[in-house]
Amino acid sequence: MTKKLSVFFMLCLLLGAVSITAAQEGMMTAVGEGEGEVSIVSWAGYIERGETDENFDWVTDFEAATGCAVTNKVAATSDEMVALMNEGSFDLVTASGDASLRLIAGGRVQPINIDLIPSWSTVDERLQNAPWHTVDGVHYGVPYQWGSNVLMYNTDVFPEAPESWSVVFEEQTLSDGASNAGRVQAYDGPIHIADAALYLKYHNPDLGITDPYALDRDQFNAALDLLRQQRTLVARYWHDAFIQIDDFVNDGIVASGSWPFQVNLLQAESHPIGSTIPVEGATGWADTTMMHVNSQHPNCAYMWLEHSLNTKLQGDLAAWFGSVPSVLAACEGNELLGEGGCSTNGLDNFEKISFWRTPVANCGDDRGDVCVPYYEWLTSYIAVIGGR
């Protein structure tokens, strides 16, 4: 029996040892005839064909014009996106900055030939060479949309918008005479360490933090110390937008980092809620459409990359998702977005935002490979939440 078992184990080992195919070098040089389909992994609401609301449809026209039938797989987290792309049977993915570098480092996505994308020149110049999709001057994707995290607060307790993130990091007495302990929240993901780093960048310049996503050991430890202090104030971390909404309505929470999504929903229900970007700035997300290294439908994929920069698509999507277009021309004359829609969604905050990026050991500057990589962010953050 033991012999049979060991044979079985050997078989399992062999199966497991099938190695990952190496990344292909080089990129496409011409776009040919469409292959009839293209599959896209995306955030919910990113690929709309008018099924939720008939006004929001940017797929049907594309399919009619190119003959490429679009299939869409919705992912809920960046990590799910990485996992789906590792499985390998998709063409495109709308990756956020905390997934894009992982995909590039893991050899899951291919370089994009921007000469094959005529609308590339219309992309917001601030995004064209963004470090979350450009490595060593090579583009690995086309910017799709971006947005910012905000400080959400209860306007009964904060008649004036809080000027600093200190309300969620330092103990203080609020305007109603009670302490903020137990009444503030923080995001339940390791990427929140970057928010602490951003706060320290402003308040503790001696640490020399330049980029909250490239932290060397000392900077990282300082951020963890701040988060340990925050732990004593936070009754419960949030990860589910709807639970956070309930926490603000029913559980006495008065301030927290949040997304415009929750703010809009709470305001729509006439709750006393406001949002602001404090003086330290804020973290945010910028999504990039990237192409799988073994894409089975490269021509259709390139056609979609071009289509994704269409001004009408960009404006409609920004209105639908509460985000900011990567093509600035989309901000004007879009019926669904309206005049000033881009400003409402945070267009003017670009300079204040530190966009999500996967922390890797390579700091990206002259410090070299001394930065703390992402998997350590996770284990450390779990420890902090656990009270260590």
Partner: protein
């Protein structure tokens, strides 16, 4: 030429079905194999196979830079499992599971005892329904409902205020470790939800065990002069104990693995299930997630061997 046909030829030739039946009747081993092949394959491939591939995964490790799993034998992953923060998670989960199990047993035993020994046929049916009814509604709905019940503006706080006892509630919530700024943010609240959710899994096995205690033994015990309490301690409880253990295996292992309740209720401190979920999902660290999954397997192994030593399986 006419003659009377031989008796054999008068019979119909045996039908295909009958021939198959005869074929298998003559070969008992083969028929056993055919019957068991599918379930055995299912058990072997789906259960044992996936479990062993999980075990193998836990001996791989993650490359820190690219986040790609390196498929080589290594104990690196187990090294990172035995850090203080991870051990905190294990201890926290095991302590919670132990408290939930003991509380469930204490609550379930009287209910099961009443159902098995005193309830009339009608009442028994109603009680079964009451125990099973919550299991028919969605687990998620029940957990999210408890979030609202336990919230600061929820019905429990409201009720305490109504009785003028909010000082008491605040005192309880002010306790270290189990307290928090509201019930839904505290380990105490999480404990209450766990007990609520898993209680039926404790009541039913205990009830079954109690129903199997022969009335004649109880009569004999009292005939021999044992007082009711003594009969309970020496006859009824030992015979029902396997039911308690069976129930405790459910409540203990279910609490060990759950990741929904700690995600909705409590102070965000991680439990094993959440750690597995975060490691395989958020961090893509499948080896560490697999190593974390080995922890409950080992704990349940220890638990079952203790239960065996206590004689829980003697009556099986």
């Amino acid at each position: 030429m006419t003659s009377i046909p031989a008796p054999a030829s008068r019979q119909q030739p045996p039908s295909t079905l009958r021939r198959i039946s005869t074929f298998f009747f003559k070969r008992p081993n083969l028929s056993l194999l055919v019957m068991l092949a599918l379930p055995l394959l299912w058990l072997g491939v789906v259960y044992i196979g996936s479990l062993s591939s999980l075990l193998i995964q836990s001996f791989f490790y993650l490359d820190g830079f690219s986040g790609v799993v390196i498929r080589e034998f290594s104990l690196t992953t187990y090294q990172s499992l035995f850090t203080q923060a991870n051990m905190d998670i294990v201890v926290r989960t095991v302590v919670m599971a132990a408290f939930v199990t003991v509380t469930c047993a204490v609550l379930a035993f009287p209910i099961a005892y009443y159902m098995a020994r005193y309830a009339s046929y009608r009442i028994k049916g109603l009680l079964y329904l009451a125990v099973l009814l919550p299991l028919w509604s969605s687990y998620l709905v029940r957990v999210y409902t408890w979030k609202i019940i336990l919230a600061q503006e929820g019905i429990i706080t409201w009720f305490f205020k109504l009785l003028g006892l909010n000082g008491l509630l605040e005192g309880i919530l002010g306790l270290p470790v189990i307290g928090g700024s509201s019930l839904s943010f505290s380990l105490l609240g999480m404990f209450m939800v766990f007990v609520y959710i898993w209680l039926p899994y404790m009541i039913l096995p205990i009830n079954t065990a109690l129903e199997r205690v022969p009335k004649s033994l109880i009569d004999a015990s009292s005939d021999l002069g044992a007082k009711p309490g003594y009969t309970f301690r020496k006859v009824i409880f030992p015979l029902a104990f396997p039911g308690v253990v069976a129930g405790s295996i459910f409540t203990f292992s279910l609490t060990l693995g759950d990741y929904i309740i700690p995600g909705v209720i409590g102070n965000s401190s991680f439990f094993i299930g959440q750690a597995v979920f975060a490691q395989q999902g958020t961090a893509g660290n499948i080896p560490l997630a697999a190593a974390f999954t080995v922890v409950p397997i080992v704990i349940m192994g220890i638990y079952l061997s203790i239960a065996k030593r206590l004689g829980a399986f003697d009556a099986l």
